[in-house]
Amino acid sequence: MPAEVKQEQSPSNATPLAMMQEPQEVVEETVTIEEDPGTPTSHVSVVTSDDGTTRRTETKDMSTNVKVTKMVKTVTTRTVRQVPLGPDGLPLPEGSSPLSSYTDSIDRRYMKNGGERFITPQATSTLTRGYNNSYNDSYGETPESQYIRHYGLHDGYADLTDNYGSLSRGINFRPPRYPYMPNSYRPENSYTLPIRKDDYGHVAQPQVPMGSSTVDLNRSQPERFQPEPYGLEDDRRSLGPEEEEPYELEPDYSTASRRTLPGTNRSRTHREPLRDMHRVRGYPDDPIEAELIDERHPYIHGMYSAPLAQPERGSMASLDRMAGRRSPSIDSIRKDPRWRDPDLPEVIAMLGHPIDPVKSNAAAYLQHLCYENDKIKKDVRQLKGIPVLVGLLDHPKSEVHRKACGALRNISYGKDNENKVAIKNCDGIPALIRLLRKTNDMEVRELITGTLWNLSSYEPLKMVIINHGLQTMTNEVIIPHSGWEHEPNEDSKPRDAEWTTVFKNTSGCLRNVSSDGAEARRRLRECDGLVDALLHALQSAVGKKDMDNKSVENCVCIMRNLSYHVHKEVPGAERFQDPSALQAPGSAGPQRKKKDDAGCFGGKKAKEEWFNQGRKNGENDKNYDTLDLPKRTEPSKGFELLYQPEVVRLYLSLLTESQNYNTLEAAAGALQNLSAGQWTWSNYIRATVRKEKGLPILVELLRSDSDKVVRAVAIALRNLSIDRRNKDLIGSYAMRDLVSNLPSGQQRPAKNLEEDTVVAILNTIHEIVTDSSENARSLIQAQAIEKLVAINRTSQSARETKAASHVLQTVWSYKELRNALAKDGWNKSHFQPTVTATPKTTKNGKPGYDDTTLPLMEKNQDGYSTIDQRDKDCKYKTDDGSADLTEREPLKNDTNRKHYIRSNRPAVSLVDACDVKPQPVDSWV
C-alpha cells in the first residue's frame, strides 16, 4: 500500500540554495520518489477475510506494491542561477541593494496583509465575546466565584434585559447598551492589537527591513509564480514539494479556525532565512573566499595551457549566469573566446589541489554541474570523483567540507542508485555522520541530512544508514529539534518542536529507513529517545495546530511504520498476547519475525488465523470494556509509547486537523496498525478509539478526496471492528459512507477510487457484516446490494469481483434477510459467485425504509438504550444517567434520521454509550 513508506528524496533540495554566493550552484532537484517498500503497514495489519481468494488478492497486491517506485516528481527551477548582480557585476548577497525595489513592493504588500490580519473579524470576535457576555469571561477561572460575582450584580431574572429579553417581562430583547457595543470594542481591540503586532514584530517584521530575507518574504507570499525576479527565491520554492504545500494551504489560514496559523507559519519559515542571511552576510568577508579569488589566477594559469574561464571576481557562479539559464555550463559558450570552463576531469582534479579554496570552489562547481544533470553525475562517478568528495568531508575547513557535502547531496539525488552506492562504497555514510557530529554549522547539517535523506531512498542503503547513523541523527537532530528532554528540568517549560530543515531532512531519512523490515523497525524502536522525541514533536504540532508541514508528515509516517506489527515484534509482546486467542503457530514467535522480514508478505496464513480468532473473541469482548488498562508503576517510555492508548488521541487530533493527505493517511495507518493483532494493547486501542470518539472522525474521512486516505481509513475501520461494539457502531453509522465509495455499475463515482481502495472497502464491509445480521441489514438499506451486484457482474477487476462476491454471499447467508431482499427483487442468483441473472434495477429503498429505523426503534423502545442494549454489562441504565445516550435520540424521529443521512454526519451516534462517562454528553436531571 502506498500508505507506507514514502521515500522522498526531494528533501535534499532544501538545502540548496544555501550557497548563494555561488549562484551557480543550483542545488536542487526535487524528486519525490515514493517507494513503498515495506508496505508493511497497510497490509500487514490488515486482516484479510477468511477465504483463500481474498488472500490471494492481497498478496498480489502487496507484491506489486513492494517495489513500486512511484512517481518521480521533479520540481526544479533553474532560475536559481540567476543571481542578482550588483552594479559591479558581482552576484549579490541576498540582502543588497538591487533587491530593494523588489523588497519594497513586498514590503508594502506584506504590510497590507499584516494590516488586514489585525482587523480580521476573528480577532475582534474573540475579544468581544469575552467582553460582551459579561458573564462569560469568567469561566476560565473558578466558575463558582465568578458566577457569584456576576450574578450578584444581576440578580437572576431581574436583569434579563441585559442579555435576554424575557417574555414575561414584555419583550425587550434589545438591551440599551448594545448600540454602544461597537465602540466599546474598539478600545479593547486596540489593547489586543499591540500584542498581535508584537507578534508580528518578532516574527514577520524583521523580514521586511532586511533585504537579505527576501527569500523568506517570498516564501510567505503565495506568489511563487513569478519566474523571473531573483533566482534565489525561486529556487527556494522549488526546493521541495513539501515547501509548496504550505502555500496551498494559505487561503485556509484566513479562516477563523486557523487564525493562528499564519503567525506560526511565518515564524517557522522565518527561521531559516535568518540563517541564510547570516551566512550570506558573512560571505564577503569570508577569508577563504577572498583568498580563493587571489589564488585562482596563478593556479589556473600555471596548470593548464588553455586559459580557463576566469570567473569574475566573486565566484564561478557568474560564469554560468552569462551562459544562460539552462546551460550545462561546462561547455557553455562564452562571449569571450579566450576563456573556457574547466572540463570535468579538471574540476575533479582540482578537488585534490593543495590549496583549500580551490578544493572548495571545485566542489561547489561540481555541485552546480550536477544539478539536475544525471549525465554529469554519472561522469563524476566514473571519473572517481565521489571518493574524493567523500574524503573532503573530513577536511577541517568548513568551506571545504560544506561544498563537498553540497556536491554529494546533488550527486546522491535522483533515480540513479549507482551514485548512492558509490557514496556508500567509499564509506561516505560514516563520513557524513562523523561530520554531523562534528559540525555546528546549520547549513552543513542541512546538507548532510539532505544527503542522507537522498541515500535513504535506496533500499540496500537503509540498514547501512541505520547502523552508522541512527543514534547520531536521533541525538544530534531529532531530539534537540523536537523539544523533548530526557529528564525534563522542573523549571524549564516543555519546549515546542522546531520545524527546521535539518529536522525535516532527518525525519525524512528516518521515515525511509523505517520501512526496511522488522529489523529496521526494531532498531528504530529501541533507539534511545527516538520514539519519545517523535511523539513529543507531534504533540507539539497538535498543540500549535501546525500539522500540515512535511516534518509532521515524516514523523507520523515513522510512527506508523514503527507501529506496524508491534504486537509481534516488541520485546515481551508474548506477555500481552490475548490468552483467549489460540496461539497460532508462530504468531508471536521468532520464526514469524523472520518471515516478516522478507517484506511483510510472509504473514498471510497467520494473519488469517488471528483474524478469525479475533472474530471469535469479538463475541465475548464485552470483557474488553471492563478491562482496566494495566497500571503503570512508571511512565512508559521508548517504544512502549507507540501503543499506549494515549496515542489514540494524538492520531485523532491529526486526523481531525491536518490538511495534509499524507499525514492523514499515515495517522489512519497508525491506528490501523495499532488496532490490528490480538494482544492486550490492541484491545485497548480499539476501545480507546471508540471512547475518544474517533469513529465519527474516521467515518468522516471516508469522504476524503484522497484515494489513499479513504483506503487507510477503510482498513482501519476494518481492524477496529474486531471489537464487537465497534463493529455494531460502524455497521450502523459508517455503512452509507462506505457504500458511497463503491462504484455504481459502469460509471465509477466521482472519486474514481483505485482498485485497491475499492477492494479495501469491500473487505471492510465484509468484515462488518460478518456475524452481524443487523449490519447486513444496514448494508441492504444503504442500497448497497445493487452496487455489489453490479461490481460482481461487471467489474473489470477480478479482485473487486471476488471481494464483492464475498460480501454478497455473507448477506445471503442471513436467512432472515432474504424476505426483504426478495421484496427488492433480488434472488439467490444475485448472491452467487457466478452471476447468472441480470439484476432487476429495483429500487430497494422502499421496503427497506421502515427497516432503516426499525431496528433502532426496537432497541430504543424501552429507554434510550440502543445498540448496546444487548450488552448486559453496560452500566448506563443504572442510576447516574450521566452516561445516557441522548445521542441516539435523533434516530428516533424520522426527521432527524433523515437529516443525519442527508448530511452524512456521523452525528453523535458513533460514540459508544458506555464510553461517554467521563464526559457526559447528556444527563438526566
Partner: protein, 128 residues
C-alpha cells in the same frame, strides 16, 4: 438560537418553573440535557448553529415535572435560577440543575417557535 461571537445576543426567552419531584432519595426534574462548552457542538441535533455550545434539552420524561411545566425537547436553556447556562460545561449545568437543597428550578429557555410567535405579534423581528 445562535449568536455570532462579538455580536450582541438577542433571544426571546420564556420562564419555566419546574417543581422537582421527589423520588426516594432523588429529586427529579424529568428531562435530560446535552451540550456544554466541553462538548462537541457539531453533534447537537437541536441547535441551528452547529457551533453553539449551549445547553439543550434533549429528552423529556413523559408526564414528568418538566413536561408538566412546559419544557420541550430542543429547548435551549439560557439560565437556571439566574445562572448563565450559555457558557458552561455540561457538568456545571447538570450541577446547577440538580442542587439538592432546591426544590424548584426556574429556567430561562429559548426556542425557535417563541421567536416566531413574537415576530408575528410584533410585526417586526428581533435582530439576530
Amino acid at each position: 438560537m445562535s449568536f455570532v461571537p462579538g455580536q450582541p445576543v438577542t433571544a426571546i426567552v420564556q420562564r419555566i418553573e419546574i417543581q422537582k419531584l421527589r423520588q426516594g432519595e432523588n429529586l427529579i426534574l424529568g428531562f435530560s440535557i446535552g451540550g456544554g462548552i466541553d462538548q462537541d457542538p457539531g453533534q447537537n441535533p437541536f441547535s441551528e448553529d452547529k457551533s453553539d455550545k449551549g445547553i439543550y434539552v434533549t429528552r423529556i420524561t413523559p408526564g414528568g415535572p418538566a413536561e408538566v411545566a412546559g419544557l420541550k425537547m430542543g429547548d435551549k436553556i439560557m439560565q437556571v435560577n439566574g445562572w448563565d447556562m450559555t457558557m458552561v460545561t455540561h457538568d456545571q449545568a447538570r450541577k446547577k440543575l440538580t442542587k439538592r437543597k432546591e426544590d424548584v428550578v426556574r429556567l430561562l429557555i429559548t426556542r425557535k417557535s417563541l421567536e416566531e410567535t413574537v415576530k408575528q405579534s410584533m410585526g417586526c423581528h428581533p435582530k439576530q
